[in-house]
Symmetry: C2
Subunit: 430 residues, 2 copies
């Protein structure tokens, strides 16, 4: 797709006039390639395009879609409580198209030793690389999950899940012999995504019941979690609040229960060596992510697709490669465990990454060390409730829900400024 | 469910005071039972409740749902161009609840010799019966149609079809290996319903493509019709207009081609002994109806569930039984073929039926003969185009589309007066 720059260099080197020499120099501008326009990648690019001049480097951003989506909002699009178009925006509206070359393509392979990226439709060479490819779902080898469970992974999977739910409700009344299992929804995982999805689902089900003339009592929402608690890592008081809230809205919890298999008809779970089959028309897998398989296949030393990075976010032994976001592994030394892969950290890494890239491109200045600044974590429980910790304080209820929306709006502001907030922001506070 | 009135009669007959005698007389009021709240049944009841006094007869209306739906609008609900709630209204809002006893139940059997109706939840006795149960789909014994094809039959089937279509579009982009067949929609039948559904579908597909990021060129709509022409019975000039209109919007026609089998993957068709498999994510069967199976099972002499009725709409040999609407067979003597089962005729029959019931209940007056008065027939081709004949004149385009909406609004007016027209009417004329 893109012509080899080496060819061009050789071609231009054969000339000797001054003009061509200038061209040669211009062609030797460092090439910065950013893979992935998620939170980390987009922040890197939008910051870098301001930090360095147009003649200082070539910036190329590669992304599978021509849009960015808000990964942290997908539980809403999946439940059908927010349209997916509200959860995404076009990349060309965010980047400075005169400074950044946007390539809509899928990354197939990173050839780190050749400094080359293989895309589905071509190849790219780089001098500096930012890997911000996001995560892949982690199914822990559980049989049938990939085939039969729905995921809250991206725009495509979210609207498929939304439509699958609608189809189950729409089909129920057409059947002479009612299959009650159609109206059973199993959510695997009571972590952050699972809980947030349950919150939306609990609000969505009454709407679906009205739309398809179904008695609300016929619907069952079951959350299965292998860990001994919902929302691991959260304050026990907040966990209790969240679980009580969802139970009041009809969600059943099976905690300390592991999904052993997912089939066409539902799931098989085990608790204390007791096996049980739960028939369900819908199984949603929301129990975790791993790093990106592209990173694993590239041969970087990794743990489940996440690469331990140096304080300046570069990879040991590859000073030209930054890894940020879900593929970067950074240890929280306070608890000696990795920081979770969150949008908040990815965006902060994007800021540091852009600054450090500018230092490298210019060959002057000092590399900055990345220090996460966790302002807070809030899990929504539907439209108007939430639980979380903000600036070290526990919050619940409408106050937490308000904070959650402010966090969502802040992410928009960070990437696209006030105009993006006005376009896609959440303003239904009470 | 309902206590036997005979029991009560015997009980009251044992008394001799004047007061009880009056009660006995009152209990002997004739019982009119109307089965089905379609166009024919609803018109019968709404006219009858005005024609006769509250002491002259007991009127009971039985219907499977607590709502009436506009059968002739279902192609819109099925395509997703009109919400199904716009196509239905509650029966209790239409009937005079102080005069008509509404029973929401499913008719299981008509015991015509015992003058009894067996319902799913109970039994009813009648002195006069109106059978206005509507039609069943006619699959002509084609293998697999019942299992795999979607129907435009009622509210339930329409919203299932709508959601199935959405699900196919939503799933397409989630698949690593794209199944192009997902976006193939086969419509079996180029009769009235088939053509009207195609008109809506042709408008809906571009919306679905936008919603799910799909290239319009990837979608195929194929109409398969066994007869040598689309819209059999229509003027050839109008047929040509309709087919051209739909072809311009991307519909492919396979005329003179019979569906031999429907499978999970699509259909098998035959033309001139040539067999062909068409893979399709959606197959819609819109090729005809027959009378109701309840009527067949009741033992009335019938042709595919339709019973030839006398000019006063009663059944030969059963002077207490009226059959109207899709289950009634009336010969159009001009062409020596049966009138097609249309809403227009069903409503006109309802008017006659109500008048004749009043005559029977009172034991005075003269029975009216039913004479269909065909004002026109218009087939819509989406939101803003149509073809048809109105008051003997051919109409096409926006004029025909306007007439179609007037016909739809008139049906509302006939049943529920101006308030129903304002609530559910179609006013987007241009």
């Amino acid at each position: 797709m893109l012509k080899s720059r080496d060819d061009k260099k050789r071609y231009y080197s054969s000339f000797t006039t001054k003009l061509e020499k200038v061209d040669v120099i211009r062609l030797r501008k460092p090439r910065v390639v950013v893979l992935g326009a998620g939170y980390g990648g987009l922040i890197t690019v939008t910051r870098l395009q301001k930090l360095i001049g147009v003649n200082e480097a070539d910036i190329t951003l590669v992304n599978k879609n021509d849009y960015h989506y808000e990964t942290t909002w997908l539980h809403e699009a999946s439940a059908g409580t927010l349209h997916h178009d509200k959860c995404r925006y076009e990349i060309k509206d965010i980047i400075d198209n005169s400074r950044v070359n946007f390539v809509k393509d899928t990354v197939v392979e990173i050839k780190k030793d050749e400094k080359k990226i293989v895309l589905a439709q071509g190849e790219l060479e780089y001098d500096y690389l930012v890997i911000s490819l996001g995560s892949n779902p982690e199914t822990f080898g559980i049989k049938g999950l990939k085939e039969y469970a729905f995921g809250i992974t991206n725009i495509n999977s979210s609207r498929q899940l939304r439509e699958h739910l609608e189809y189950q409700f729409a089909t129920y009344n057409t059947e002479e012999h009612k299959q009650e299992d159609r109206l059973v929804i199993v959510v695997g995982g009571a972590g952050f995504t699972g809980i947030e999805f349950l919150g939306e689902l609990a609000n969505r089900v009454p709407e679906l019941c009205r739309e398809y003339d179904i008695d609300h009592k016929k619907v069952r929402i079951i959350c299965v979690e292998a860990a001994p608690n919902a929302l691991p890592g959260f304050d026990p008081e907040l966990v209790e609040y969240a679980v009580n809230h969802l139970q009041r809205k009809g969600v059943e919890f099976k905690i300390g229960t592991a999904i052993k298999e997912c089939t066409e008809d539902g799931i098989v779970v085990a608790k204390d060596d007791q096996m049980e089959e739960i028939k369900a028309g819908t199984v949603v897998w929301a129990a975790g992510v791993r790093g990106n398989s592209i990173v694993e296949e590239a041969g970087f030393e990794n743990m489940r697709g996440r690469v331990k990075v140096k304080p300046d976010l570069r990879v040991e032994g590859h000073d030209e490669v930054f890894i940020i976001g879900d593929c970067a592994l950074i240890i929280n030394e306070e608890i000696n465990r990795p920081f979770p892969p969150t949008a908040q950290i990815a965006m902060q890494q994007g800021e540091t990454c852009a600054k450090n890239l500018a230092v490298l491109v210019r060959g002057q200045g000092e590399m900055e060390e990345f220090k996460p600044d966790i302002k807070g974590t809030v899990a929504s429980l539907g439209e108007s409730d939430a639980v979380g910790v903000v600036f070290g304080k526990k919050v619940v209820g409408t106050k937490a829900s308000f904070m959650k929306k402010m966090i969502d709006n802040r992410a928009l502001f960070m990437v696209g400024g006030p105009s993006l907030v006005l376009k896609k922001g959440k303003f239904k506070f009470f």
